[in-house]
Amino acid sequence: MSFKLPSLQYDYKSLEPYIDAATMEIHHTKHHAAYTNNLNSAIEGTSIDLQPIEEILREVSKHSPVVRNNGGGYYNHNLYWEIMSPKGGGEPNGTLLKRIQADFGSFAEFKDKFSAAAASRFGSGWAWLVLRDNKLVIFSTPNQDNPLMDVAEVKGFPLLGLDVWEHAYYLKYQNRRPEYIQNFWNVISWDAVQHRFESAR
């Protein structure tokens, strides 16, 4: 089996003005494609060749750093494209909103905490909203690590992930990562996040 680069459910230009078309295209066709290809080459002919990505990540400490880096890069970008939409923004509702309010106080407090996690990650990495033991937690990981990995400090099921590698925002925002984070809220598909929340429970 080999992993496939997913096609996006929207056009590269459709997240403008928040994320520009050039960034989207390079991010998808170069960065995400490279993680996918490198992962496929690393696992070809090995015992994990037929495993789903989630299982590979769950025991990633048993594999080479190439699998950790590119397996993470493959999964994380799948999730990133999935939880964004040109019809995104606003606030979640229903069970997810209630859970956010219960665990963080309010949506505004959740937003501040998630944004702070994304802004303070030094170097390359991701900010996460994770369901862990039926409770929501926010944290960040370095490079392409994620909360499914056995090497992660905090483990759980990722509901929302924000790529804060410089390649995710540099063409449009350069050194202004906080502005990118601020604008990310306009493209989050809360339907997709709600869907992940339900499938995790």
Partner: protein, 192 residues
């Protein structure tokens, strides 16, 4: 002590065959400056308030280490460039490179491989070790070989911000251009 952003020994548009003026403006004017500002804010009221950058690199942790090392690393990176560089090493430096790596080409290949395979943000270094040999090392994020007792001679910034405006995902295209602006006279002076 107040840390300051050192002046560049060339203008922002002096390296455009390799690094655009726009990249220098952001990299030096925004990133490097931000590390200086962050460091000055963070050290107030700490044991590092009057420490040199070298002491901070050897001893500090967390934000003080990150910002202090990034100030030093960027100064070291920018000061190695020149619009009229000495294009290759000579004398003792060349002899060291040849004895430790074979040829200048083999050295550059090995350095480039280290730069390409560094995953995420970081720096690739050429340093002199305690045995008097040269070594190439990779450091993540703000890492600096001074912390391991090595004497740094040359570094390449492979944070994406160093090349993304000019080369996007093509780090492999940035590296040969990087070598075109490295001034080997500066590296030889560092060797002493």
């Amino acid at each position: 002590m107040i840390h300051e952003l050192p002046k560049l020994p060339y203008s922002a548009d002096a390296l455009t065959t390799a690094i655009s003026a726009q990249t220098i403006d952001f990299h030096y004017g925004k990133h490097h400056q931000a590390y200086v500002n962050n460091l000055n804010n963070l050290i107030v009221g700490t044991p590092y308030e009057n420490a040199t950058l070298e002491t901070i690199i050897k001893e500090a942790e967390g934000g003080i280490f990150n910002n202090g090392a990034q100030v030093w690393n960027h100064t070291f990176y920018f000061e190695a460039f020149s619009p009229n560089p000495q294009a290759s090493p000579a004398g003792r430096l060349l002899r060291l490179i040849e004895s430790d790596f074979g040829t200048l080409t083999e050295f550059k290949d090995k350095f480039n491989k280290a730069a390409l395979s560094l995953f995420g943000s970081g720096w690739v270094w050429l340093s002199l070790n305690n045995q008097g040999h040269l070594e190439i090392s990779q450091e993540s994020n703000a890492g600096n070989p001074l912390r391991k007792g090595l004497k740094p001679l040359l570094t390449c910034d492979v944070w994406e911000h160093a090349y993304y405006l000019d080369y996007q995902n093509r780090r492999a295209d940035y590296l040969p251009k990087f070598w075109e602006v490295v001034d080997w006279k500066v590296i030889a002076d560092r060797l002493g």
